[in-house]
Every structure is written in C-alpha cells, then in structure tokens.
C-alpha cells in the first residue's frame, strides 16, 4: 500500500513550507503524489524519480567526453585539487542541509579555501547592511498573527514564494489578524506591475534604481519634514499616504527582495530600509525581513557564523583566522579578478548564475560540481559528483527565511550508492587528511561537530 507521509518540508523556496504531505510507493522509492505544495514545490519531489538522473560521478576526459568513475576516485580527485590550489573557492549551498554545509566548512578550513554561498549574488548586500545597522526582524509566525500593514519592496512572492502570501503575509487569519486579508493593508513598491503589485492597496511604481531616495523620503516625512513634490518618480501625496498608513498600522512588516538589494547602492538600500524600520518603531511596531530565495539559503549564514564568525565570503586561506570583505572575498570578484585557482560548485548552478566572464576565468582551473542533477555548471565541469536530494532523499536541518530552524524529513530512499553532501565532504576531508598525513580531528570529534543522529555511522 502506498503511504502518505505528513509534515514534510519542501526543499524549494525560502518559505520552506513544512506542512506538505507526500504519497510514497510501496517500496519507498518513488513519490506518487503531493498535497499542499505549490506547483514548483510539487515538481521538486517528482524530479527525484527522473530516470535520467546521474547516479555516479562523471569525469571529463581529454577528448571532452565524460566517463563514469567511482566515488572513491571522485573523492581523491577533489581532495587533491583542493590541496594543490593556492586559493580554492567553494561556492553554492542554495540547496543542501546544514549538516552538509558544516562538513564543507571542515573541508574548506583544511583546504585554506574561500567559502561562499549564493547570498554572494543574492542577499549578500543584506548581510552588509545588517553588519552596519542591525536587523530588527521577527518570525513569519509573528507576521501572520500581528502584521496589519505589509510592505513588499522589490519582491514578487506571488511568483517567487508562491505560498508565502497564503501562509504568512496577506491572506492568513492570525491571532490579532482574525479577518485575514480584509484587515491588512498591502503596499507594494515595484517598478513593474507584478502579480503581487496587483494585490496591493497601494502600488508605488518607483523609478528603477531609486529605492534609496524613496526610503529617505519616507524617513524625512516620518520626522515631520517636507519633501520635494516628486521623489523617485512617486508623487508626494502618494508618499504621504503610504507613510500615514505605516504610521497608523499596529504592526508594519517590510519584506524586500532582489529589487531592493540589487539595484544601485545595494547594501545601502537595505541599510536605509532598516533605518526606516527603526524610525517606524517610534510610532508603532515595525519589523523587516529579507525574502531569502532558497529553502535553506539562510543555513550557511547560520552554520558558518557559528564555525567561523562570518556568514559568507569567508576567506580561510590565511590558516590562522577567517577574513571577510565582500568586494574582495566574494565569488564574482574573486573570479573576475582571477584570484582563485580551483572552483567547487555545491548545490547550485554557477554556470547559469555567474556572469559569463567569471565562468571563463574559473574554467582555467579545476572546476567541480556537486549537485543531484544535471545543470549548466555540471555540464562544463571537469568532474560532476551527484548526491542525494535533501528534503526528498536526505533529512536535515534547514533555516527558513526568518532564520527559524526546521528539521526536514526524507520521504524516499536515494538511488543506490549515491552519497549525501555530508557523507561526500566528510570523505573528502578524510582523504585530505590522509594525503597530508594529519589527524582528521573533525571526524574524530564528529559527535561534537554536528551531534545529529548520523553521528554513530
């Protein structure tokens, strides 16, 4: 009898829904059906059963073709490439669990590598703003139960985080928000009329790239000063109206996305958004949250901050201490400046996401991809190592966009012989220790290192 598994986490977008139900075949190998997931969430579960999925590492040959090799060979190649490089870059982690991220942290320390995650090309500017100005944030549960004025700034959850609006931000009825969307005022700041903007009570169609000016205008009017007749393409009356709604709300929530943190000024757009949130708190309660893209992209920030003190762009090449300075130690800058000589792409697709020039530079050196699926990066790699799909075939801890940790389940077994990210990187670490004739201290202290149920393996 096929079996329904409940309270399953969805390994797709940053909403990290944990209320999915998945129907699994008798033999526990195939996902038959899902409930509660949105279309993209549903897709990821069916992806696992794709018969064309690679199940063995594939190594590029001299003539450009690829050949299947064993995991041992792949682990040996990766360990040697990392040890040989003067400054390897390990990047990715959009889609893996915290256990895997922690294992990679141990490898990176041994390799003297730069450790970076997708935030580098995504919400990295948010980190910089948070370093400078703090993070007056809350959980999505608080948003659901309290927020009656919700601002979406440069983000479009209707497409990027499909269930965000129904579970947390617009529609749900909460403890103090018993009338759901009837009780909420939605303000959307976006140069385009997105599907989220269509739902909004007020849509401020801002001139692209002028977010900072509009925030400054809000702050100026909140302090009782006058502003020019038009700021960032928005009329003064509209700014006053939106500012009035925020001031008179009981709980104002600002969600922002790439449209805010990746237009000119980047971190300062978030920086001033945080200042605005702080200003609003002298009138009412207000909070702010980054719309993180992937289900566990908040994870590396948590794990590496614990391991090394920094959430991303962690340069471990000095061997004595971690150094972080995006602009210098960020993946794109390192690649464009030819500052790294080995690249490991884990659980993401640098081939698709990086500027072509950056990929060209990286391709001069060993290029390794660790990912369950075929992607652009895997196809240009010297070595592609497939792993189990977290949240489908591998359990683990993930951090939702509000930095709440959630234990994700596995629902089916992975393909025979395919390793998890954690197993793979622990073996790479052990191989590096063998090659350098050093003690694998982190493996000996594995219980201490992650303390999960897999500790006894």
């Amino acid at each position: 009898m096929p079996k329904w598994i409940t309270q399953v986490g969805c390994p797709y977008c940053g909403s990290s829904c944990d209320d999915l139900e998945v129907l699994v075949s008798d033999d526990g190998k195939k996902v038959l059906e899902t409930r509660n997931a949105c279309v993209i969430g549903n897709e990821i579960f069916h992806h696992a059963s794709n018969p064309n999925r690679p199940t063995r590492p594939r190594m590029r040959q001299e003539d450009g073709t690829v050949k299947e090799i064993t995991y041992d060979e792949a682990i040996d190649y990766t360990a040697k490439a990392l040890l040989k490089a003067k400054k390897p870059l390990i990047y990715g982690f959009g889609s893996t669990n915290c256990e895997g991220m922690s294992a990679v942290g141990r490898v990176a320390e041994k390799a003297g590598a730069v450790l970076d995650n997708c935030a580098s090309i995504c919400h990295g500017p948010s980190f910089l703003a948070i370093f400078d100005n703090g993070y007056p944030s809350c959980t999505l549960g608080e948003v659901k139960n309290r927020a009656d004025v919700v601002l979406f700034w440069g983000c479009n959850p209707m497409h990027a985080h499909p269930r965000h609006t129904s579970r947390y931000s617009i529609f749900p009825r909460g403890f103090f928000t018993t009338k759901g969307n009837m009780q909420r005022t939605i303000i959307c700041v976006d140069p385009r009329e997105t599907d989220t903007a269509k739902l909004a009570d007020i849509h401020l169609m801002i001139d692209q790239g002028h977010d900072y000016e509009l925030f400054d205008a809000f702050r100026t009017v909140l302090r009782g000063h006058d502003i020019p007749d038009v700021v960032a393409g928005i009329k003064k009356e509209q700014i006053l109206e939106a500012a009035g709604k925020m001031k008179n709300g009981r709980f104002v929530m600002i969600f922002y996305g790439m449209g805010c943190c990746h237009t000119d000024g980047r971190n300062h757009n978030v920086d001033i958004a945080i200042s605005t949130t702080r200003d609003l708190n002298s009138h009412t309660k207000a909070s702010i949250m980054a719309m993180r893209g992937h289900y566990n992209i908040a994870g590396p920030g948590q794990v590496w901050s614990w391991q090394f003190g920094f959430p991303y762009c962690v340069d471990l090449s000095r061997g004595t201490h971690a150094h972080m300075n995006p602009g210098e130690t960020s993946s794109i800058d390192l690649a464009m400046r030819d500052e790294v000589d080995c690249f490991v792409n884990v659980g993401t697709d640098a081939g698709a996401h990086f500027p072509i020039e950056a990929v060209r530079h990286l391709k001069k050196h060993p290029f390794i991809t660790v990912d369950p699926n075929i992607c652009m990066a895997s196809e240009i790699s010297d070595l592609h190592i497939p792993v189990r799909i977290v949240g489908v075939e591998e359990p683990g801890v993930v951090y939702r966009m509000d930095n709440v940790p959630i234990q994700f389940k596995k629902v089916v077994d992975g393909p025979d012989g395919v390793l998890s990210d954690e197993e793979l990187f622990d073996r790479v670490y052990e191989r590096m220790c063998e090659l350098t004739e050093t003690e694998p201290i982190w493996i000996l202290n594995r219980g201490h290192a992650h303390g999960s149920s897999t500790a006894e393996q």
């Binding site: 003067k86 400054d216 001033i272 210098e328």
Partner: protein, 267 residues
Amino acid sequence: MALVTLKPYKEPELYLECNNISPDAFAGKTAAEISELEVREGKTRVRLGDYFEVSGKPGDTAEQTEIHIAGDCSRIKYLGTKMTAGSIKVDGNADMYVGGWMKGGKIHVTGNVHSFCGIAMEGGEITVDGNAENYVGSAYRGDWRGMRGGTIRIRGNAGNDIGTFMLGGTIIIEKNAFIHVSTHAEGGCVVIKGDVEGRVGGQMVKGDIYVLGKIQYMLPGFKKIATVEKEIDGVSARFNHYIGDLGERHPRSKGKEIYANLFVMAS
C-alpha cells in the same frame, strides 16, 4: 630619509598579500632581511624577495624610511596598511587596501588604486594620481567608526562609498564620483570637484561635503538654507548650502539640532 627600492620582477599568479610592505616593517632591517619578509599568495607563504628585488637600506625608524616601488603593483594588496610614519611611492597601479588603517606618513601612487584605499584611516596622507575604485576612506564592514583623520586625495575619479561612516579627516576626489558619499558620516569633510550621480550624504549625521560639479539626483532629505561664499581646496566660489539628512537622527547642542552640511557650487 633612507631609501629602500623594491623592483618587481615577477608577476604573481594570483595576488600577493603584502601587509609587510611598510616603513614600520622595514625599519632597522638590511636589504637581505627585507627580502626574507613573509608575504602570502593564497594559502602559500612566500618571500618578498621572490617577487621584488630589494636594494638600499631603510632608516632605524619608520619615520626615517622611504620606500620606492619601481614598478607596477596591480596584483599587490595591502601596501602601506597600518603604517605610522615614513613614506611609500609606487610607480604605477596598486591593488586593494592601499593605506588601510594607516596612522601616519605618506603614500603616493602614480597610477590607479583598487577598492578600500584608506579604509578606516586614522592619519597621514594618501595621494593617488589616477582613479580609485570603491570604498575610498570608508569604514570596514560593520564598523561604525570609519575614517578618523588624515587626507586622501584622488586626482581622478572614484566609485561608490566614499567616506562611509567617516568621523574625521579629509577626502578630495578631483574628478567625478559615482554614488554614496559620506553615508552615515558623523564628521570629516569630503570634496568632490566633479559631478556625482547621487546619494550624497544619505543617513549623514554630521560633517561637511562640497560638490563643485553637479549632483544628478539630490536626496529628498536635504534642504537648501542659504547661498554662501566659500573657499575650499584652492577654489573660491558661491555655494548653495543644504542641511540634512533630515530623515536621520541628529545630536542637539544648545537647544538646536546639528545637521550635516552639503555645499553644492551655485551655477
């Protein structure tokens, strides 16, 4: 002043991190000892002498030591970081962190510099004949105490984030700048002799900015209060005087709020 000359003879494959190229590190050493100083290329430790021919002899103290780098330093980071006295001259470009955390002495780069030039500087003088990239005289990430003293002069253009979180000192950009001048500043003076695209003085608490060219997008938090005659860096002219950022917190003194000043040359 006793002169040490470094002649680059080999290009590193990646970049060299040369925290050791400073009058403070060289003072009192022989040329041979200076060649032995450790610099880094990624995780590998190399000798300064592997990349530079060292000649001359430094003084006994940093103050008496003059360093001349006779060649391009496009792939050399951290020139003159944390130096307290003496001087460095580079014939050509230099990479990131020129004069970062500098406390005293002089640096002169005849070409361009990359980002983070004069980051968190406390004193001394940096002159760059070419252009600078981003973060000239800015604070290190997360530090609310930025540049505190000294002078940075960029004779060409500069990128974004000039004087972020600045508390004191002077930055002069002789040509144009991109965006974010004196963001979060609580002191100091920035002079832009050319044009700026925008975000001049955002979240600024105290301090002065002079723009001798045009600001394409003025922040709504700045208000014009007067037109004044001023002399700045050898230029006398009429300036429109703005105060701001009205959206930001400001200290009070004698019952009055103290604002940052922005002077834009009147056309």
